[in-house]
């Protein structure tokens, strides 16, 4: 059980890091928009990053022209 004397402070240290990280994230505005990113992840706007040989032949989308 003596391991607790090390584990508990360790946990608290990690938790403290987490809290600091979270407040940094909030302060840099990452929590200002809670809806946008949830949608953004679903947009497969990376079609032009798929290697040519891996593309589906029946894709109805032309590769972006940029």
């Amino acid at each position: 059980m003596e391991i607790v004397f090390i584990l508990v402070p360790l946990v608290l240290f990690i938790v403290a890091l987490g809290v600091l990280l979270f407040s940094w994230a909030v302060k840099t505005g990452q929590y200002d928009d809670l809806e946008g990113p949830a949608h953004r992840i679903l947009y497969d706007d990376d079609k032009d990053m798929i290697p040519l040989e891996a593309r589906q032949p029946d894709s109805d989308e032309e590769p972006a022209d940029n």
Partner: protein, 816 residues
């Protein structure tokens, strides 16, 4: 057969010949060339994914008129940019407010569209607030070009500058989130540490573990108390100083005492510590506060609320040219030039030019009035077609608009703060417990008990007003969340409670009961052309005007008419092929046509005629129509026993007409903001509890005077900021739902308070008698709090949000 819907905006696309575009071997129909152009732009940039991703049809785009272009070009002026552009590393950063965003795909489209422009370093749109941040390098691109690029896709962009109120709200919102998170983490950690203490797991290991766990619990709880719970302490201190006991006082005392007592036990030894209870209590309370702050933040997102009404710069006429100066430097007797579409910064007198002015901000009248040299004009009015030179009579704080805002401030300052039910109970209850606790301690100490301190602690913990103080906020939180899903956003803590007592509802007319814009209610072809052809001609002519009448026609397919001329206060003329066409008031056309006008029956609303050189072609009737659900909402409210009153600054006959259509018996028209307030005060003296629903700046003073004020979602920003609640989607039926929920909320609050009081009162004597060990007190306290929270959650069970829109997402493709 129904005409196909526009591929881009979902409006019917009846065009003949139809406007089409071939996309990926599929023929798409469009309602107008604007939509087609946007779709082509999207396609040529390889962003067609937009049509797959979107969940709502896009807005119908509108091409910019030359005066709008001029206004956008003006944004390149460094003096104008001062307010919303700031230099950042490697470029300039502008804050913009984007209009026309219907779903998340719009944001994706905009961001990708702009990132392809030269000079744009980054562009991001906030989905919640529709604010955008644009970073660009000034030497590679002009700001106006980038804004025009946004308009190209059918969205609008205007600069905005966060004012102090918004910055403060944003800071509060963020710090609240951190507080909440810290309290949550603290609760989890201290619970984990308390677990072995509660269940005697440590008895067979040794007392050094107890001490160890307690010290670490103390370590965890300390930041929660000093950071997360700080708002409670500062509020309590403020309330004590102002000798006004609110719920914050017992909360602060409970948190403070439990924390101090636990420290005492930790340091000097004793039976139990309550760090985890303190953390959990803080967390639950903060959750309610956070949701309130969030609601206020959303409603307070107004940019500079007055920006639309009080321009920051003005063009001063000096000899033959104009110089742009900051608005606050305008002096009396200066001559300033107001271009079409601009807002007047001052009260003054027209000395040159003739135009129509939209004075909705001051009077609530939605149709612009014609103003000629010699007329008085007021700050906040929007200029229509022609440039005006205005001699300044009053500027800055002396204007009529500032006057209205001063009344608002006065009324708001005089309004007594609403004492909530919980606050009233808090005062009584806390006082008694605070007297009782020391008595118990002295009693047991005199009786020679060793554990006098433990018993006193039990008394304090048992009577901890947790359940009592959670009773109201939890119910309000859960009701708020439910109502927000329905589109009714309470922005003040007291809104829901105050709504219980409402027995009179006052509605503004324009923009509240009606849509606040003209719509085509009837059309009839009287000449040789059929209705569709006439409508296309009309739309082709009106495309060149920004007048509200013209805007009715903007959404229809149009003919490419040339040489369009705007005849002020009359109508428009233009040429198609060999023929001249006219649209406008009857008198205007009679002047130009030798044929007498066909007879037309008297009808409400406004008549607009279309004619060619030889004949009268069609008549259009326009009116400001009531909202779809207005009649139903009024009927339901009246069935609930509400007295409904229509109070408008608008002309009386239309007010009476709307009142009759909707079944409102009391209607007052042509009321100035001051008169509106007077009506309201009279009613209040009669003992009515008033809810005021409005949307304009002219409603503001009376809204401030009402018990509960509700602003429409499209209301002026300042109106939304000052209102107690915002009706986000403009569905009046949600008022009914909100009133019902408010009654339900009161019921739940009563149940909660009843339970909390019963628990506290029955536990108190037991604890004072020393029959409740502290650990049982802690469990009882947590259980009673939990029960209150669970009871409140019942409120959140919302009926499925009803949609009064028939409009479904049209452009959605079935793409797997």
């Amino acid at each position: 057969m129904t005409p196909p819907n526009c591929f881009h905006c979902g409006e019917p696309a009846p065009g003949e010949p139809s406007i089409t575009l071939e996309l990926n071997n599929q023929l798409k129909h469009f309602c107008c060339y604007g939509c087609k152009a946007v779709c082509e732009t999207i396609h040529s940039e390889g962003l067609t994914g937009f049509y797959d991703f979107r969940t709502e049809p896009a807005v119908t785009p509108r091409s910019l008129t030359s005066s709008e272009l001029d206004r956008i070009r003006e944004l390149d002026h460094s003096l104008v940019q001062e307010s919303f552009v700031s230099p950042v590393k490697g470029g300039q950063e502008a804050q913009l407010l984007i209009g026309g965003i219907t779903c998340a795909a719009c944001i994706w489209l905009l961001e990708n569209h702009l990132k392809k422009r030269a000079g744009v370093q980054s562009f991001s749109v906030n989905h919640t607030t529709q604010r955008a941040r644009l970073v660009w390098s000034q030497d590679k691109a002009k700001l106006s070009d980038l804004l025009i690029a946004i308009h190209e896709l059918g969205y609008t962009a205007r600069p905005y500058q966060a004012d102090e109120v918004e910055l403060a709200l944003k800071k509060e919102h963020r710090s609240m989130l951190i507080r909440l998170m810290l309290a949550g983490v603290g609760t989890a950690q201290s619970m984990m540490l308390a677990f072995p203490l509660y269940f005697d797991l440590i008895d067979n290991i040794g007392p050094e573990f107890v001490t160890f766990f307690r010290w670490f619990s103390l370590l965890v709880a300390t930041p929660v108390i000093f950071y997360s719970a700080r708002p409670f302490f500062t509020n309590a201190a403020r309330d004590i100083r102002s000798k006004h006991l609110t719920m914050d006082v017992p909360v602060a005392i409970a948190i403070g005492l439990a924390y101090l007592a636990s420290i005492w036990v930790t340091v000097f030894g004793g039976k139990d510590v309550y760090f985890e209870s303190v953390c959990m209590f803080t967390f639950f309370l903060l959750l309610g506060r956070y949701i309130e702050v969030q609601a206020r933040y959303r409603a307070g997102l107004t940019g500079n609320a007055l920006a639309g009404f009080q321009p920051t710069v003005a063009a001063r006429v000096e000899g033959d040219q104009t110089v742009i100066i900051p608005a606050h430097q305008i002096q009396i007797d200066d001559i300033i030039r107001v271009r079409p579409g601009e807002t007047l910064p001052v009260d003054g007198e027209i000395i040159r030019g003739q135009s129509t002015l939209n004075e909705a901000a001051l009077t609530g009248e939605y149709l612009p009035e014609t103003r000629i040299p010699g007329d008085r004009v007021h700050a906040g009015s929007v200029n229509g077609e022609n440039p005006l030179d205005v001699r300044v009579i009053k500027a800055g704080a002396q204007t009529r608009l500032s006057g209205i805002l001063r009344i608002l401030d006065r009324v708001q300052a005089e309004k007594p703060s609403v004492a909530t039910l919980a606050d009233r109970m808090a005062g009584k209850f806390v006082g008694r417990v605070l007297i009782l606790a020391p008595l118990v301690w002295i009693g047991w100490w005199l009786a020679g008990a060793d554990d006098a301190f433990d018993i006193t602690l039990s008394v304090l913990v048992v009577t901890c007003p947790c359940a009592l103080s959670l009773a109201t906020p939890t119910a309000i939180t859960s009701a708020t969340v439910k109502l927000r899903r329905l589109g009714f956003l309470p922005t003040r803590g007291h809104t829901l409670e105050s709504m219980n007592t409402i027995d009179t509802i006052i509605f503004d007319k324009t923009g509240t009961l009606t849509r606040g814009e003209l719509s085509l209610i009837d059309q009839k072809a009287v000449g040789s052309l059929d209705e569709t052809a006439c409508l296309k001609l009309a739309a082709g002519l009106e495309k060149y005007s920004e007048h509200p009448i013209a805007q009715v026609f903007h959404s229809y397919a149009s003919e490419a008419i040339e040489y369009v001329e705007n005849h002020l206060g009359g109508g428009l003329s233009g040429r198609l092929g060999e023929q001249n066409f006219y649209i406008g008031h009857k008198a205007f056309i009679e002047e130009r046509l030798s044929v007498p006008a066909p007879a037309s029956a008297h009808h409400r609303g406004m008549e607009i005629w279309l004619a060619s050189d030889e004949e009268w072609l069609a008549i259009y009737r326009l009116d400001d129509e009531p909202r779809e659900d207005a009649a139903l909402a009024i009927k339901t409210l009246q069935a609930m026993g509400m007295r409904t009153i229509l109070l408008s600054g608008d002309r009386s006959d239309h007010v009476t007409y709307i009142a009759e259509t909707l079944g409102i018996k009391e209607a007052i028209g042509q009321a100035s903001p001051e008169q509106k307030l007077a009506v309201l005060e009279n009613l209040r003296e009669e003992g009515c509890h008033i809810m005021m629903v409005g949307d304009g700046l002219n409603d503001l003073p009376s809204m401030a005077g009402a018990g509960v004020s509700v602003a429409m979602g499209r209301a002026a920003d300042l109106t939304q900021l000052k209102a107690d609640a915002v009706l986000l989607n403009g569905q009046l039926m949600q008022l009914v739902e909100a009133l019902k929920t408010s009654r339900q909320t009161r019921k739940i609050i009563r149940q909660n308070l009843g339970w909390a009081l019963a628990y506290n009162l029955s536990a108190l004597p037991l604890a004072a008698a020393g029959l409740v060990p502290p650990w049982l007190a802690a469990i009882g306290m947590s259980a009673s709090s939990l029960l209150v929270v669970l009871n409140a959650l019942r409120l959140g069970k919302a009926p499925a949000p009803q949609s009064y829109k028939g409009n479904q997402a049209v452009g959605l493709q079935t793409l797997s």
